[in-house]
């Protein structure tokens, strides 16, 4: 869970991010999205291993909005779906810094695992 921090804290103060939060921020790095588009993006990127339900998604978005990592981008109908108006969400500058910091943290961990030959080598 992302906890509320005081303004002015460095992005690293928000780490580590819960997997669902990281996936949501990663989806929003592509631009403004509504809830369903975030959900589809997360499912596609994780190849189905992470499936966000409405409760998990909007619970996380509520916390991200309160922590000012995400902001609302207004309501409009999805041109592809052409149905009811939907609320769009986008990353704030702080949100972008936090997702970058988390990506760097995960990258460092993966590199450490690779150095120890835990990944990236075929089992004998």
């Amino acid at each position: 869970m992302v906890t509320k921090r005081r303004a002015g804290r460095p992005p690293e103060a928000y780490l580590p991010l819960p997997p669902a939060t990281f996936h949501i921020l990663l989806a929003l790095a592509d631009g403004e999205l509504h809830g369903y588009a975030i959900m589809k993006s997360v499912t596609a990127r994780s190849e189905g291993s992470v499936r966000l339900g409405p409760g998990t998604l909007y619970g996380s978005l509520k916390r991200l909005l309160a922590a000012r990592l995400v902001e609302e981008g207004g309501e409009r109908a999805d041109p592809e779906r052409g149905d009811e108006r939907r609320r769009y969400y986008r990353l704030t500058q702080l949100g972008l810094s936090v997702v970058r910091a988390e990506a760097r943290r995960l990258d460092a961990m993966v590199r450490a695992a690779r150095r120890k030959k835990l990944i990236g080598v075929r089992p004998a």
Binding site: K4, G35, Y36, G53, G55, Y58, R63
Partner: protein, 196 residues
């Protein structure tokens, strides 16, 4: 009953503030899920229930600890009931100590026992005053209640030390009740860890 109606019923697991803000969006998302899945399968509803079971309790807990939300009404109601109980217990405590005092006058009463009874009367009166102060929802009322509870607690502990034969019930009321009230008066004012 349609799947959407069932889902709307299940959404009652979430706190009212959260529902007011996100219910429409969640139902829209649920409709999208219904279009792409077979709503008649157990797997679909298992995933829906798992999602609610995973997210609703945390959001309820956050709503409970967030000041100024609907939880303050609940806490206010509980505090009002508890304050009324404190007033009743205070009155009962004073009467009990006075009856005991009257009984003691007929027999042989040590100085320590008499002092413990006097302290018991004062502790009960302070508990009564604290209950009355809690019923006044002002900052000064809360401050007065805290002071009265603290003084009542000190007097009850002193009475217990002076009169070790104090009943378990009297100890629970005289010591347990002020401690519980002091915790309740301080806890809702703590900074909320939720909301983000």
């Amino acid at each position: 009953m349609s799947a959407e109606r069932i889902y709307r019923l299940l959404l009652r697991a979430y706190p009212p503030d959260f529902r007011a803000e996100y219910e429409r969006e969640m139902v829209l998302l649920f409709r999208d899920q219904c279009r792409e899945s077979d709503v008649r399968t157990i797997g679909f509803w298992a995933a829906v229930i798992w999602d609610i079971a995973r997210s609703a309790p945390a959001l309820r807990a956050e709503a409970w600890w967030t000041p100024g939300r609907e939880n303050t009404r609940t806490i206010g109601g509980i505090m009002k009931l508890a304050a009324m109980l404190a007033v009743l217990v205070g009155v009962f405590g004073i009467l009990n100590a006075m009856v005991e005092w009257g009984a003691a006058l007929t027999g042989t009463t040590g100085g320590m026992h008499a002092l413990a009874l006097v302290l018991g009367v004062f502790a009960s009166a302070l508990l009564l005053g604290a209950g009355a102060a809690i019923l006044r929802p002002t900052q000064r009322g809360r401050q007065a209640a805290r002071l009265a509870l603290l003084a009542s607690l000190v007097m009850s502990v002193a009475a217990r030390l002076l009169h070790p034969w104090m009943s378990i019930f009297s100890q629970l009321v005289g010591i347990g009740l002020p401690v519980a009230f002091l915790i309740a008066l301080y806890l809702p004012r703590r900074a909320s860890p939720a909301g983000a």
